[in-house]
């Protein structure tokens, strides 16, 4: 229960800052436009700039550098894997080769170029995603999806999952600690049985919790459908902002892709 949970927090998404105060729809609109531009770009310039820009913004928002680094770490691993895969398997023009006995690994020019592009796309897109989630709490994103006519059942389930993750997380952490202090993880066999017990216990707890939650919901007038508060009407100013952000991103994209660079 130790690894992986440290970074797991939407703490920063609730801190007050310039981006946090923006309309969620504007933030999501910009993110979608950026994703599209990054995924469609055929040169690494735009994705890499998006990546650098996202890091700079997160630093400006005073998110600790260590956390930014940790959040990017898995994607850096992925980038290495992709570059290796594409450099060695794609293309025909050899650049260099390494021989290890019978095995000869040849990197090609096309492969390296393609690997760099895909890698830069991953960095740019992950940067955009991290920036979005650092300034927008998950429940606001779900509200926006509801506003966009995502099926209500999905939004309702997502909201409940989001809420009870934190409850179950606390319980699971406590249970794991209780197992650990009674030497539940002292050997491999032990660990397997403790982990499966923990998994079972978390599921049982979740089922019991669901019945209690449902009772509490009924006692507050729930009749099978969760009612969400409506979002504010999309103001003309926000509409204009979304539009101009989209146009701006498209313009930069065309500028780079159209080789005007």
């Amino acid at each position: 229960m130790s690894r992986g949970f440290h970074l797991f927090s939407d703490y920063f998404a609730r801190r007050d800052n310039v981006l946090q105060r923006l309309d969620v729809r504007l933030k999501m609109g910009v993110a979608i436009a950026l994703f599209a531009a990054i995924l469609c770009s055929t040169r690494p310039v735009l994705p890499v700039s998006a990546w650098l820009l996202s890091i700079a913004t997160m630093i400006a928002l005073r998110i600790p550098r260590k956390i930014i680094f940790h959040r990017f770490l898995p994607s850096l691993g992925i980038v290495i894997v992709i570059m290796v895969l594409q450099a060695l398997l794609i293309g025909k023009t050899p650049v260099f080769s390494v021989s290890l006995g019978d095995w000869v690994l040849t990197a090609t020019r096309e492969g390296i170029a393609q690997g760099t592009l895909t890698g830069s796309r991953v960095l740019g897109a992950v940067g955009t995603l991290l920036l979005l989630s650092s300034v927008t709490p998950a429940h606001e994103i779900f509200h926006t999806l509801h506003w966009c006519h995502m099926p209500k059942v999905w939004v309702e389930i997502a909201m409940l999952v989001y809420r009870y993750i934190f409850v179950l997380l606390d319980e699971a952490t406590d249970m794991a600690a209780a197992q650990r202090v009674r030497l539940g993880y002292s050997s491999f066999r032990n660990s397997m049985s403790s982990t499966s017990g923990l998994i079972g216990a978390v599921i049982v707890r979740s089922m019991e919790q669901s019945f209690r939650t449902h009772e509490a919901m009924i006692a507050r007038g729930y009749a099978g459908e969760y009612r969400f508060g409506g979002m504010d009407r999309l103001s003309w100013k926000t509409c204009f902002d979304i539009f101009s952000a989209g146009v701006g991103i498209a313009f930069v994209f065309l500028l780079i892709e159209g080789q005007l660079w």
Binding site: F8, L88, A125, P151, S196, G197, I203, M217, G224
Partner: protein, 253 residues
């Protein structure tokens, strides 16, 4: 002779790249979900289109079931939260330095059925993308296909088949865990390969990624199977009456 020789060389090349991958990235955690940005726009869109009908099916099933039993919706949601937590738990791997997590969809599919599990994995994947940058929003469609569709349906299928053949529920839960884990990784490899292969052959890319997975994922799948069976036994022991209710697809339906 020539063909055989080139086939052998081809295989050797795959093997060498795969082992290099294993060396540069010793933890298989990078492969659990398809990361944001890997899939080009057209591929990302295609997988969303493929995932959509399954998602629709799951939402419909949840709607219908919760009309009959109103507590079903919170039940599915809470099981979803539990599966989310489980997929964040480390699998106790005896080898130092490695770290992996259960997929959890096999168990979820046994508990709430495969179609609702697709919905749950879509929610869990969205939250994981937002919280942890595991997976991504543009690759959500692809991730739903690997975890939800491949993992849940194959895992549930093998559970159902094993029960039909009179195999004990515990063994069936083990098989469901193993199969859902392997199916998820196989599907992930395929989707990655299809997006990354470019002018190289799809199968050599697919083979390489699969080969790179095998040494870690084969045993991890078995461990996940053991965990699923253990968890199943625990749940069955703690709330036997629940296993027979209408909620749990393993019971009546």
């Amino acid at each position: 002779m020539m063909v055989c020789f080139s086939g052998q060389r081809h295989f050797l090349r795959l093997l060498s790249v795969a082992s290099l991958l294993l060396i540069v990235s010793s933890t298989p955690v990078w492969a659990m979900h398809i990361s944001e940005g890997i899939l080009p726009a057209n591929w990302a869109g295609l997988w969303f289109v493929i995932a959509a009908p399954f998602l629709y099916w799951g939402i419909r099933e949840i709607k219908i079931k919760s009309r009959k039993a109103p507590q079903y919706k919170p039940f599915v949601a809470l099981v979803g939260a539990a599966v989310f937590i489980i997929s964040c738990m480390p699998i106790p791997v005896p080898v130092a330095g490695t770290c992996s997590h259960p997929v959890g969809t096999g168990l979820a599919a046994i508990l709430v059925g495969p179609a609702p599990t697709v919905v749950l994995s879509s929610v869990a994947l969205t939250l994981q993308a937002l919280f942890l940058a595991h997976g991504g929003l543009t690759t959500l469609g692809a991730d739903i296909v690997t975890m939800g569709v491949a993992g849940a349906f194959l895992g549930y299928g093998i559970f159902w088949l094993a029960r039909r053949m009179g195999i004990s529920a515990l063994v069936a839960a083990f098989l469901a865990g193993v199969v859902s884990d392997w199916a998820t990784y196989a599907a992930t490899s395929f989707i990655l390969a299809s997006a990354l292969h470019m002018d190289a052959s799809l199968w050599s890319m697919f083979g390489t990624i699969l080969l790179a997975f095998v040494p870690t994922q084969l045993p991890l799948g078995v461990l996940e199977g053991i965990l699923s069976a253990g968890a199943y036994r625990f749940i069955h022991f703690r709330i036997p009456e629940l296993m027979k209710t209408q909620f749990l697809s393993g019971g009546s339906s």
